[in-house]
């Protein structure tokens, strides 16, 4: 055979092999097969836990109502009015049982505060407590809520995040809420989706960080014109401003963002705070839509943005979530940021930023390696040990607009999104939705951490089977059983409560902290638990995920027959407290040492 012919045959075979590579990658790199049908007993025995949706049985039949904005936006209303469903957990009356607060987003609709009746049911008390009717005409509508005891009186106060007039409610001994917005000195209008309580300067009082989405001079119900869209889908810098409200201690707050080095108009959708460098001061991680994430490093009360240096601020995506989790049980937080992935259209991939060893703060994205990269049009996510095996798992809500199952808006979205800013920045140039879906009806993800560097999606097998347009996720041991339950707020959909049943052989421990020198909510306090040669770091958060806040209590899974060495608490005041002789399957209430 001539050499040329042999060469030709070789090249043809090589070419065929190359064409087959995508199939091979799909076939051989797919996650281990997981049962797609929920069988509670099988789930319990195979994965160590099982979920059951119990909202109706618990007395909760809440369905979120989306905002109806200015008629000029009618054509793309499903897209622009696609947020507002939020959930936060709070023990507002200090009875030791977590309660649930959910927001509604139609003008005139009411928010709900579900009081935990200790018997598996809840009762809505928002009306009598004075925090229901907060979406009145002319004041905008609710987008989220974060709780923090800003005056250190022992009761959690409420900051209501809105597209509209932000509101601060003081908790009067768990009996009533009093609106104190005007005294606090908050601005008249912010179009925000996210906020977080933190004590940025270590003075023992909770401060408040709020990031705008739409610019604050835009009234979405009375638009001057339709030029209110982002001017880019990757580098938009025409969103709302950011605010840092410094708590002056007398019920007043001073806006200090510029003074402390925070100046950005990216379209913020999520943020969370944690001391990422062990300095005693909380840093701020911000996930922006239409752009890169930002990492505000806190140098003793003054911030500088270090996203690029840290590796998290390079590739622009559609950031919609910030959650911290010590997924490797190594005493360091990884950060989960959700984005958009739609097969064949847009593969941004979610980011799991894992810290690198060294003296400077550096992260690498290991979402693909660990198997938590693709989650559809992803929104809120939370880390939690759902089967109490000692490894943090991850729940992810997703789905953007679920309307007509058979017709997609993706083509029109892509057509305009790639154009010049003068076109995409004007809502009038966007084709009408006409009842089409955009990444709708998506299956949720519940990634189980195997403790060896892999996460496996078991959502369908353990009972997280809904396909609503998920937004906010909050975790709490709602029934004080030692299991983390999952509460999910869905846009235009019902509030879901996934009650968790865990293999009783897997043990747990929980901590409820109260600051003395530190802020009384203990927000920012970090607990490192040492057991069985492992260590896991968790912190009390003043808001994280997307439009959500978990229970204050920290829940650690321990696995079978654990031997607990100690727990070390780093309080925001700088105090370090060590707890010895701890037993499993118990809740410890810890007050900061005087």
């Amino acid at each position: 055979m001539k050499r040329a012919v042999v060469t030709r045959i070789f090249i043809t075979i090589f070419f065929a092999v190359l064409l087959a590579v995508p199939w091979m990658v799909r076939h051989f790199s797919s996650s281990p097969k997981v049962a797609g049908v929920h069988d509670p007993q099988a789930a319990l025995s195979r994965y160590g836990f099982s979920l059951r949706e119990v909202s109706h049985a618990a007395g909760i039949d809440f369905v979120h109502q989306a905002p109806q904005l200015d008629a000029k936006l009618d054509g793309i209303m499903p897209e622009v009015a696609s947020m507002g469903a939020s959930v936060s957990i709070v023990d507002y009356d200090r009875d030791g049982w977590p309660d649930i607060y959910v927001t509604n987003s139609a003008i005139g609709s009411k928010n709900h505060l579900y009081h935990n009746n200790h018997d598996g049911t809840f009762t809505d008390v928002a009306e009598q407590m004075g925090i229901a009717d907060v979406n009145q005409p002319g004041t905008g509508v609710s987008m989220g809520a974060v709780w923090g005891d800003y005056d250190n009186d022992g009761y959690e106060d409420l900051f209501l995040i809105k597209w509209g007039r932000p509101e601060l409610f003081h908790n009067d001994q768990g009996k009533h809420f009093i609106r104190v917005t005007d005294q606090a000195g908050l601005p008249p209008w912010i179009n925000a989706n996210s906020a977080v309580w933190l004590d940025y300067d270590g003075d023992g009082r909770l401060d408040l960080f709020v990031g705008g989405y739409y610019p604050e001079d835009v009234n979405l119900w009375n638009l001057r014109n339709t030029r209110m869209m982002p001017d880019s889908f990757e580098y938009a810098n025409n969103g709302g401003r950011k605010y840092l409200f410094h708590n002056l201690g007398n019920g007043h707050f001073e806006e200090v963002s510029a003074k402390v080095g925070i100046d950005s108009r990216r379209w913020m959708l999520a943020c969370a705070a944690a001391d990422l460098r062990g300095t005693g001061y909380p840093d701020l991680f911000v996930a922006n839509d239409y752009g890169v994430s930002e990492l505000y490093i806190n140098d003793h009360g003054h911030f500088h943005e270090a996203g690029k240096e840290a590796g998290v601020g390079f590739a622009p995506k559609s950031g919609m979530n910030v959650s911290f989790g010590d997924i490797f049980d190594q005493g360091k937080f990884s950060v989960y940021v959700s984005n958009i992935s739609e097969e064949g259209v847009l593969i941004q991939g979610n980011n799991l930023w894992v810290p690198q060893s060294g003296s400077t703060l550096k992260y690498v994205n290991m979402a693909r390696d660990l198997g938590v990269e693709l989650g559809g049009w992803s929104f809120g996510a939370q880390f939690g040990d759902f089967n109490n095996d000692g490894n943090l798992d991850l729940y992810l809500a997703n789905g953007f607009v679920s309307l007509d199952r058979d017709r997609s808006y993706w083509y029109d979205f892509a057509k305009v999104a790639g154009g010049n800013s003068s076109i995409i920045g004007d809502a009038a140039n966007w084709p009408a939705f006409n009842g089409r879906s955009l990444s709708g009806y998506q299956q949720k993800r519940l990634w189980l951490n195997d403790g060896e560097g892999k996460f496996v999606d078991v959502a369908q097998a353990v009972g997280a089977v809904d396909t609503y347009d998920g937004r906010a996720v909050a975790l709490a041991d709602l029934w004080n059983t030692g299991a983390l339950d999952i509460v999910v707020a869905n846009q235009r959909g019902p509030l879901l409560i996934y009650k968790n049943t865990v293999d009783p052989d897997n043990q747990w421990i929980e901590f409820s902290l109260e600051g003395v020198k530190s802020n009384r909510s203990a927000i920012g306090a970090q607990v490192t638990l040492y057991w069985d040669g492992k260590e896991q770091l968790q912190q009390v958060s003043g808001g994280n995920g997307f439009a959500s806040e978990n229970d204050r209590r920290l829940h650690f899974g321990l696995g079978k027959n654990p031997s607990i060495e100690k727990a070390v608490i780093h309080w925001p005041s700088g105090e370090v407290q060590t707890l010895n002789n701890l037993a499993s399957d118990r809740l410890y209430t810890v007050k900061e040492a005087q």
Binding site: S232, E234, K415, N420, A428, N429
Partner: protein
């Protein structure tokens, strides 16, 4: 994608190497093969430093290294001599710009498919697909779970638009292929008006894609690729118009990658028709042998 050819290559195809020096103006002959790579590298760097257009430097580097390495190997194996790396370098950069994936392997595979297609899919000694167009279309079809080519990059702003228009126009004008780009642009705009009329969508929405800088890489650098376009000036205009027309129908069918798919079908078809015409005119007897050597070398 390949950049429009340099003057020397055109002259070689016409068998008149000496003319290259006369037509290249102030640019020395030896530099001409490097001009397109230099241009596209400048675009890449300017775009990335100002807007971060790349998924990452490492992924783009992987695409480039894969493309150049494979070109060297396949060229050496096929021809017995080392090919010029410029074409493969450009293909690699094109893959780095146009492909979007958080994973590494798609960049290597897309480059490999692009380069190998030049050697595996040949008719009468000529490759008929634009290499990177073939590679990206293959990835979009076969690996849709891992890649996309959605053009929401480059900041969507006016500055990047001007940069690409100016640089692109200069390059295609020097290569005497500006008529291809202009034909396509005129057809696209005219058909966008018709599409707006048919769909009822705002005209701005229909014309929007062509205002995106990434799309302009397609109209300046991909449809003008000399190795995979026909020779006659009139024929080139007809092919450009046909791509726009087929894209029009793809768009009516909501195909997100309409321009890439249109070129994927029209490009090779035009080449085959030209070969058929050549054959009929009796030139085919000498063309394969000559073309075989020249095309692979280039």
């Amino acid at each position: 994608m390949s950049l429009p050819t340099t003057q020397p290559v055109k002259m070689q195809r016409q068998g008149d190497a000496n003319a290259a020096g006369k037509r290249s103006g102030l640019v020395p002959n030896w530099l001409n093969p490097f001009l397109p790579p230099i241009f596209i590298t400048l675009i890449l760097l300017a775009g990335n430093l100002s807007f971060g257009i790349l998924e990452s430097y490492s992924r783009t580097l992987l695409a480039i290294v894969t493309a150049v390495s494979l070109e060297m190997i396949l060229g050496r194996v096929t021809l017995g001599k080392w090919p010029h790396p410029a074409s493969a370098y450009i293909s690699g950069i094109s893959v780095g710009i146009l492909l979007r994936s958080p994973a590494f392997w798609p960049y290597a595979l897309c480059s490999a498919l692009s380069i190998t297609s030049k050697y595996a899919l040949r008719i009468r000694g000529r490759h008929i697909w634009n290499p990177s167009n073939f590679g990206i279309c293959a990835m979009l079809i076969l690996a849709s779970q891992a890649v996309a080519s959605l053009s929401i990059q480059w900041g969507n702003n006016f500055a990047s638009l001007v940069v690409i228009w100016v640089l692109g126009s200069v390059i295609v004008w020097r290569a005497k292929r500006l008529h291809i780009t202009l034909t396509y642009v005129i057809c696209f705009i005219a058909l966008s008006i018709l599409r707006a009329h048919i769909t009822g969508d705002p005209w701005q929405a229909e014309v929007s894609p062509i205002t995106g800088p990434m799309y302009q890489l397609f109209i300046f650098f991909m449809i003008t690729d000399p190795k995979t376009t026909v020779r006659s000036r009139v024929g080139q205009c007809i092919v450009a118009a046909t791509i726009a027309v087929l894209e029009f129908f793809f768009r009516l069918n909501s195909s997100i990658y309409a321009p890439l798919y249109a070129l994927f079908w029209v490009g090779p078809l035009a080449m085959l028709i030209e070969m058929g015409i050549d054959s009929r005119r009796g030139r085919a007897a000498i063309a394969p042998a000559v073309a075989s050597v020249k095309e692979v070398r280039a």
